[in-house]
Amino acid sequence: MSISRREFLKIAGASIILGFGDISAINALEKVEGTQVLKDIKALKAKRWAMVIDIKKFKTEEDYKRVIDACHRIHNVPHIENPKHEVKWIWTETYEHAFPDIEYEYIPEDIKHKPFIVLCNHCDNPACVRVCPVKATFKREDGIVMQDMHRCIGCKFCMAACPFGARSYNWLHPRDYIKEENREFPTRTTGVVEKCILCYWRIDKGLPPACVEASNGALIFGDLADPNSEVRRVLSANYVIRRKAELGTKPMVYYII
């Protein structure tokens, strides 16, 4: 508790005088408290999380499915068939659609039509964060672009702003489309936007993102700011591409093809 009795009384007194009653007093106190929350001692720490997707290591359909299911199952992502209303955090797109700007006619056929894993790029300069009118989507200090489904008002501005199509809106009641509910993670309601949150809640417990864990080394995750991290080692040893890097959002998901 870093707030003195004197400060507490000051905030409480001022709020009563201004007639705001309890709410603003609690808010003011929370501001002090919020910054002081201790992280789990086991929490993974980084200046800038990033991911490298080694697409060569995805060989069978099962390789993709395992990664996608791991995420969608623990996050209670509803399974909606209609592509117009589907909700997805991590999924596959063929190379030509994932990288429409660098899709060349005469590249090897197997790459051209190969499914690529796509997800939120956790951009370092995220357009979605800039446009959100209620800070429901925001960037954490370690670079994770967060989505607070409880604050989202459902204006869908972030969906217009995201150049990667990474965001899904709940057009239907999502709870009707969840087969097995994971009680560890909240389900959502209709009318809010959701997306990959890079398993911040696992990272804070010292665990890697679920997709990384399920990928058998095909997804590499680590601190971009740390020259000795695995992502940096992989990035310096391989030629990599990013989706729509020319737009300046600084996507943090790299692909080895």
């Binding site: 592509p83 797109e93 800039r130 009118p133 008002i153 869908k156 501005f157 150049p163 199509g165 057009w171």
Partner: protein, 396 residues
């Protein structure tokens, strides 16, 4: 002054009841959307996440801004012919802002949380600024319109303190539409919207569609009441709309040149989808061409002096231009920006019936506000002229 709104002939009450009926249907449709989920009640999708309602925001902010086209000549240049129509422009702006704000409100997936926009002000978001400038503009127009009208009723000149607010409203009008354009023009990866011309183009369309609507409303006011905004005012509005329409068509040409001479695919594809269809999807092509044809009809009728001066052909021109721009800005512009999607896939868009009914409810609320305000204004204007001169209002 409001008492004038509760005195009226059966025709007036019939119209008010009709609007109330549409509002109730719209409200039920809105509740239905939230009950079933907007997946089942709108034409929107993961790929085209904004549609008809955001189009209404875009279009009606323009109508609101266009009030400056009567306010500015009257107050800054003392253009007397606009003396009677200025209040109509200001009250139309109020109606249009109401429609704009409600159009944003109805897209919200969690309407109960919408006050978070003010509870957690986020100045980096354009929506925050849009809400702010629209609210200020609403208050300014209500204040200026009401104060000037009250003074007129008492047969005294308007108070001096209102002047700064009138000038403020004049500066504010272009700013509301500029902010609306910034909702679109600053998004990476939406090439159709990303043009520095956006705000200027929006203003051009606004200054064409707004005066055309005012011409139509003036003609209606003249038919249903003894109040006549005056032929000179209508003719001046027609000239304003003509120039603005020409600039709008010129700007469309500029967009086409940039996209198709540069041959940059991202800049061409939305235009291709809208005008000829893309990958077999042609949902909005008929709408776009209807808009284009109406614009050409309006252009000819407005540019040729004889058809502009003839009030019958002018009425047709005004309707043509209004609907041309509505179809473009209020319908296809928003969806067009989403097509193709970030994966270069084409998902079409067409509004669902329920979505249309919600929009109709929003229009009806706006037009109910307009009806009440116009009823008050017209009653005062009618009285004023009779008291002062003891004769029927002269048609100039």
């Amino acid at each position: 002054m409001l008492e004038a709104a509760i005195k009226g002939r059966p025709r007036y009450w019939g119209w008010v009841l009709f609007l109330l009926g549409v509002i109730i249907i719209g409200f039920i449709a809105w509740l239905r959307e939230h009950h079933l989920g907007s997946g089942l009640t709108t034409g929107l999708s993961r790929d085209v996440s904004w549609g008809l309602h955001v189009g209404q925001l875009t279009f009606f902010v323009g109508v609101a801004a266009s009030a400056v086209m009567v306010v500015l000549p009257y107050y800054l240049h003392n253009y007397k012919a606009f003396g009677r129509i200025t209040i109509m422009g200001e009250f139309l702006a109020i109606c249009a802002v109401v429609i704009s704000m409600l159009s944003v409100f109805v897209i919200m997936g969690q309407p109960a949380r919408v006050w978070n926009v003010l509870l957690h002000p986020t100045p980096r978001s354009v929506i925050f600024w849009d809400l702010l400038v629209l609210m200020v503009y609403l208050i300014l127009n209500a204040l200026c319109g009401w104060t000037v009208l009250s003074a007129e009723r008492k047969d005294v000149p308007p108070p001096k303190w209102i002047k700064p607010f009138i000038y403020w409203a004049i500066i504010w009008a272009p700013s509301i539409h500029t902010v609306t354009a910034f909702l679109y023009a600053g998004l990476p990866g939406r090439a159709h919207w990303m043009t520095a011309l956006q705000a200027a183009h929006f203003l051009a369309t606004a200054f064409a569609a707004g005066p055309c609507l005012l011409i139509i409303l003036s003609m209606i006011a003249r038919k249903v009441s003894r109040f006549d905004p005056g032929s000179i005012a209508i003719q001046t509005l027609a000239k304003i709309a003509t120039y603005a329409l020409i600039i709008h068509i010129f700007f469309i040409g500029l967009e086409f040149f940039t996209a198709f001479y540069s041959q940059i695919p991202d800049h061409m594809r939305s235009l291709q989808y809208l005008y000829v269809g893309l990958e077999g999807h042609k949902e909005l092509v008929p709408v776009m061409w209807t808009s284009s044809i109406l614009a050409v009809i309006g252009l000819f009728l407005l540019v040729i002096p004889a058809t502009r001066r003839n009030e019958n052909s002018l009425a047709i021109a005004a309707l043509a231009v209004f609907f041309s721009i509505w179809l473009d800005k209020g319908f296809t512009f928003v969806a067009g920006g989403f097509i193709p999607n970030p994966f270069e896939r084409v998902t079409g868009y067409w509004p669902a019936l329920n979505e249309f009914l919600v929009a109709a409810g929003v229009w009806a609320i706006g037009f109910l506000v307009l009806t009440i305000l116009y009823k008050v204004a017209v009653s005062i204007k009618e009285e004023m002229v009779f008291d002062k001169y003891g004769e029927k209002q002269v048609r100039t």
